[in-house]
Amino acid sequence: MNDKTASYTPRDTTVARRFPLREVVLFAALLVAVLGVYALMGAAYSTRMLVEAACYAILALGLTIQWGYAGQFNAGVMGFVALGGFSAMLFSVPVNDAFWGTELPGELGRVLLYGLAAIVVVIGATRLDRFGVPKLLRTLIAVILAVVLYLIVISMLREVTGEIQSRAGFVGGFGLPPWVGWIVGGALAGGVGYFIGHICLGLRSDYLAIATLGIAEIIKAFLKNSDWLTRGTATVSPLPWPTPGPSELGFTLSRAIYLSLTAVIIAVIFFLLHRAYHAPWGRMIRAIRDNEVSAAAMGKDINKRRLEIFVLGCILMGLGGGVLGTFNSLFDPQGYLPLNHTFLVLVMVILGGPGNNLGTIFGAVAVYIIWIMSEPLALYVMQLVATLGESAGWTLPSNLDSRALQARVLVIGMLITVVLRFAPKGLLPENIKAHG
């Protein structure tokens, strides 16, 4: 045992001492790109871009620990982001007296209590077999009870929510500082992640992708159609900032302060993840990712560790979603799109380097700059094609602008396939130490 440790310790130190040339070059290029954007588009616009890129970096860190550390693919980042945004909205928007001043909160609470009671009754019914009821009869009783109670509770809920909508508009917020909403958003996302992970993580990895894709659409449908809770398509704005807003300090300065706040959050997350990655826990997670069977043979509780890391990733996504939602100062459930909030984050992670936190942050900022800049570029190219086409005598469709933006879908798809094919480890690959 002793000489074995002695034999691989020196190699460790040589790996650690490598000059990070690749990192330095890539980040220098990124800095040049950011400065270029500042020169071209002005300070206010560029600072907004940087803040959004920073929010996306939090999301990407969440995805990189799921995909890079543990090999779990989450195809529903959008849902967790939307939950975070919703929670930020709910906690920070001012209190709505038209709702809280009436008997409606009591009514709503009563219905929710009934709902809880119904759940307890149904769970109780599923335990009936312990009192000697045959299993088939128990299942039948439980299913019928569940259906009937569900119908009763849902009709009561529909009544109350309709009343809230017509009399008070929506429930309004709690008027608390936004960071409370961010934390609760992370907790909500973590709760949903626990539910999904608990069901899917013991099965084939594909099932997790399918289930997360589904839950994201469901969360979006819920937020979009629950007008009493979120005002649905009418959107809620403005959301207060935790830092001084643009009306007090002007756009550039206020955004710069917000940027430093997000930078602090990222730094804290980065530090904690770095510690976790190099801790025994991180090694265990990677061991499970690389060889499940041998990790299980070593006595590691695979499903529990997987659930841990999946929930952790979802919490980060909820937090990032909250920060992003507050910065946009607008809660619009329809603004959450799979392309912008799931696949863009995926590209950031696989391009930057899954499992490498620094690479992920690099990927987040770089891809976001490309994404933002591609909008004017796509319009320009489309305009160019249009003028060329008109001179050649084509008749052009009228909605050219919206079609030009659709081209970005194509580019994101192409990026995913090309990166998977030619650079499966990303630009900054995970730094795996070789232990002899």
């Binding site: 119908l151 289930a211 194509l410």
Partner: protein
């Protein structure tokens, strides 16, 4: 009686329509799953692509159907199937084959197929715009109203022309697939490969051919499903995101890698969807007098609103993953 007719129109017919479409889609997904061992997320976009090909061909030759008396879109369907099958084989050659050659994990193939999804979606939207378009370009959608020979049944049963074609084509597809898998040499080879790829290869089956054939079948079926769906409603470039979850739920309910299970799963999911959004108050209202006075039924007794339809396949998926992850018919791949 009118209530019963309403039930037939809104549940039996609507459920069979969505069920057939999900079933045809799920067969493709489950075949790909059993041969290549990954969840093919781009399947719903291949369906959209097939429908889009039909739309293009129908717009190009709007009068082709009137000569025989069927909608032009149906005449163009075989051509669109060939095009979609070619696309599927091409996608496999360009994107999935290199990944397979690297020997990547199945989940990486899933991400690759998501990339392909986005590319297809981008292409379709680039050329088709974002609005909906009817596949009935030159001809008119026939609607049949069948009156019932009963006392008091005033409302007729309503079936549209594309729905009738849909039932016929679904049955034809299922029969053809069953014959192919059970009788033909290629079909048997396919089943062998899905059971044990190494053994199949060792016994002289050309796995490359099998993979290509799988893509041809999956592409053809995807084109059929997409076209029938667009005939029934309208063609929209963003059909796919609403199809993906029900189709995967259907494939998993039936047991992954199990074509007949996929058909059953498709109908389970389709009927569950229509039953869940159906307003049960309609059926209970005639018996209102026989209920006790304190029991007043609310006017809306649907389980979920139509806007939450997507919850239904998800719920089925979760239920099946919790209680019977192998699916109803004991699929092989877990």
């Amino acid at each position: 009686m009118n209530e019963l007719v309403f039930f037939i129109n809104n549940v039996v017919i609507a459920g069979s329509v969505t069920g057939s479409i999900y079933a045809i889609g799920a067969i493709g997904v489950t075949l790909i799953f059993s041969i290549m061992r990954f969840a093919h997320f781009a399947h719903a976009d291949m369906m959209t692509f097939g429908a889009f090909m039909v739309l293009l061909l129908t717009t190009a030759f709007p009068a082709a159907g009137t000569a025989i008396g069927v909608p032009t879109a149906l005449i163009m369907l075989p051509l669109a199937m060939v095009l979609t099958a070619l696309l599927a084989v091409g996608i496999d050659k360009a994107f999935y084959k290199p990944l397979r050659a690297f020997g990547v994990k199945p989940i990486v193939m899933v991400i690759g197929s998501l990339g392909v999804t986005l590319m297809l979606q981008g292409l379709i939207r680039l050329f088709a715009g974002t609005g909906g378009q009817s596949l009935y370009v030159g001809d008119r959608k026939e609607i049949f109203r069948l009156g019932l020979p009963f006392e008091g049944a005033r409302a007729p049963i309503v079936v549209t022309e594309p729905q009738l074609y849909l039932f016929v084509i679904t049955i034809a597809c299922v029969v053809a697939l069953a014959l192919f898998l059970n009788r033909s040499r290629l079909g048997k080879a396919m089943r062998a490969m899905s059971d044990n790829p190494e053994l199949a290869q060792a016994s002289g089956i050309n796995t490359n051919t099998i993979v290509a054939v799988t893509w041809v079948i999956a592409g053809g079926l995807a084109a059929i499903a997409g076209t029938l769906l667009s005939l029934d409603v309208t063609f929209k470039p963003d059909l796919s995101f609403f199809l993906l979850l029900p189709i995967f739920a259907a494939a998993i309910v039936g047991g992954v890698g199990h074509p007949y299970g996929a058909i059953a799963g498709g109908f389970v999911v389709g009927f569950a969807e229509t039953l869940a959004v159906f307003n049960w108050n309609v059926l209970l209202r005639p018996f209102q007098e026989s209920f006790p006075a304190w029991l007043e039924l609310p006017s809306n007794l649907a389980f979920v609103g139509t806007e939450y339809k997507i919850v239904v396949p998800f719920f089925i998926l979760v239920a099946i993953l919790v209680w019977r992850p192998t699916g109803l018919f004991k699929g092989k791949v877990i």
